[in-house]
Subunit: 348 residues, 2 copies
């Protein structure tokens, strides 16, 4: 322990204000009998000394630790990180700490983690998943504090889980493309992601609302690679069914499809509009970007954390689907911003 200043105590405040410890305490808590002038003197002294009551001692006396437990599989995962960071910074601004147990960082099994969180008397627990719809084990019954599941679905229907609204995202994309006059909308996606199925279903539902059905009858299903996006785009052109838009299940597929279309002389978006998902390309590409959908994972983490803190025992069971955001880009805006020629032409 180095450093020069010690924490300001209530004694310091009392001394500066020229009152007893008891009066100082009552003045700051708003109770007690004293003149307004005396109370003001204490308040001023506290402000001058930058006194802050010992919240730890207070909370401990109330049986609260002011710590929220977070259980996560892989905290370094690209999609998990924004969720946990949203949780952490939202709770921080509520003066709540987080105790994160990352199963990938240590040998802890889930039961050990639960035991440790109980021993630490955490005020609540967030279980953060990987965004797939594989249900995660419920730990709610093992603890006597609130538990909320973020970016995953608890296996127990009595628990509260928060997930991005993938179905809504698919429907939103359908509405966006239909609003641009597109009618033959194809879909490229991956088969090894259960949450992607929600987006596909939303797309189909959105098309059905407008009396349309999926172009090419069914989705083109491969993996999450640019290479598959390119292969699927060639398949779309080969079929000669006048497809005028493609919803790609992630941004990599969209980049791959875009490359093939442009190289084959198909104008994007005039001939074929393209929409991706994840809003990841912003990380490594320059603007303007391909139209995409942001699953708002940082916000999801924050929403789940606030819900945990504010809901008390009144948690609503089931999965709460939080809205995603459409991020319009050049690949669906014929009259909007276009990439610089050097970029758009993807030389040559």
């Amino acid at each position: 322990m180095t450093g020069t200043r010690k924490a300001v105590t209530l004694s310091d405040v009392a001394q500066l204000a020229g009152v007893s410890l008891s009066i100082a305490s009552k003045a700051l808590r708003g109770g007690g009998r004293m003149t307004p002038a005396t109370r003001q003197r204490v308040v001023d002294a506290a402000a001058t000394l930058k006194f802050r009551p010992n919240t730890l001692a207070q909370s401990f006396a109330q049986g609260r630790s002011l710590v929220i437990g977070v259980v996560v599989e892989h905290s370094s995962d690209l999609f998990t990180m924004p969720v946990v960071m949203g949780v952490t910074s939202t709770l921080g601004n509520l003066d709540l700490a987080v105790l994160v147990y990352d199963a990938s960082e240590g040998p802890e099994r889930r039961t050990d983690v639960v035991a440790k969180l109980r021993a630490r008397m955490v005020d609540g627990i967030l279980v953060v998943g990987d965004g797939t719809k594989h249900p995660v084990p419920s730990i709610t019954g093992e603890v006597d504090v609130p538990v909320v599941y973020a970016f995953c679905e608890s296996e127990s229907a009595r628990d509260t889980s928060f997930m991005p609204d993938g179905f809504g995202a698919g429907r939103m994309v359908a509405e966006h493309l239909i609003g641009l006059g597109r009618r033959k909308i194809a879909h490229i996606t991956s088969g090894n992601d259960t949450s992607a199925a929600s987006r596909s279903a939303g797309l189909v539902a959105g098309l059905a609302d407008a009396g349309l059905s999926l172009a090419l009858t069914s989705p083109l299903v491969g993996d999450w690679s640019q290479a598959w996006g390119m292969t699927a785009a060639r398949e779309i052109l080969r079929r000669r069914e006048d497809v005028d838009a493609v919803f790609c299940g992630n941004d990599q597929l969209a980049v791959g499809a875009q490359r093939v279309f442009r190289s084959e002389g198909v104008r994007v978006p005039e001939d074929i509009a393209i929409v991706g998902y994840d809003n990841l390309n912003r990380l490594v590409e320059s603007a303007p970007l391909i139209t995409t959908v942001d699953p708002e994972l940082y916000r999801l983490g924050g929403t789940a954390a606030r819900y945990l803190v504010e809901s008390g025992a009144e948690r609503e069971p089931g999965v709460q689907h939080l809205p995603c955001t459409l991020i319009p880009g050049w690949s669906t805006q014929p009259d909007g911003a276009r990439p610089a020629a050097s970029f758009a032409d993807d030389a040559p």
Copy 2:
């Protein structure tokens, strides 16, 4: 508070073992006079009940909060997130919680944050920056607990800061390219990033070690966009100076340069090898990837956190530069893995 199970107490253990509370306590702490059989009975009872001592009460009695404060500017920033997550999960696996104050999430000024962290009696503080070399204000003198600066440099030379070794990264890239027989190595970078200057200096030093100097005499300096990478690549070709390798200050520049070279019939890596920096392309591209350097930000956060906890009052002043990792990709490996034709040819 919902749920069914209550935390196991020492009383439960004592009851199951058939001993007094005092004996149970002494048995688990390793002291007291009792027969080995009695001690074993208590230990077995604790194991059966999954009893964990109340670490919160113990630590509070010792004047420890088991909470580390984290002060961060923008917790949702792409480069900040892995640092904070490395901090958070590393501390979590040491059973330490983090209280994160994100200046971008609330109206808190730095002085307020320090006052709140003192009131909370945190056991230490990590200040997490944005990776630029602009010095951050030192708060070490304002608190009586250890403070460590991660992904930033404290303005005080007496503080301990952790940064990626950008100079070492530049030198490592020079050695990698020289080891491949390259002699005319150019450099594309950005002028609006003070930490990028370290990488440039390391590159120049690594070339000098081999009796070489930078091709084209000086770096091509623009912004961090793919567009600038393309423009700079065209400039390299225009100068006709037989450049055989390019170190790009980030991955976006590398992608842009690669596109121009390939489109102009320059073979990568046979004619010109390319290296980027950040290891960001892995996020949105399929393997194989352009050779790059990973600044290991998650690991940096974990290292800084462990240092904070383990160093006590013996912290070494100054900036500790942590090694980056070269990630070899197809753009420097003539005989190694190559991207699939459909991808590498960047259709058409």
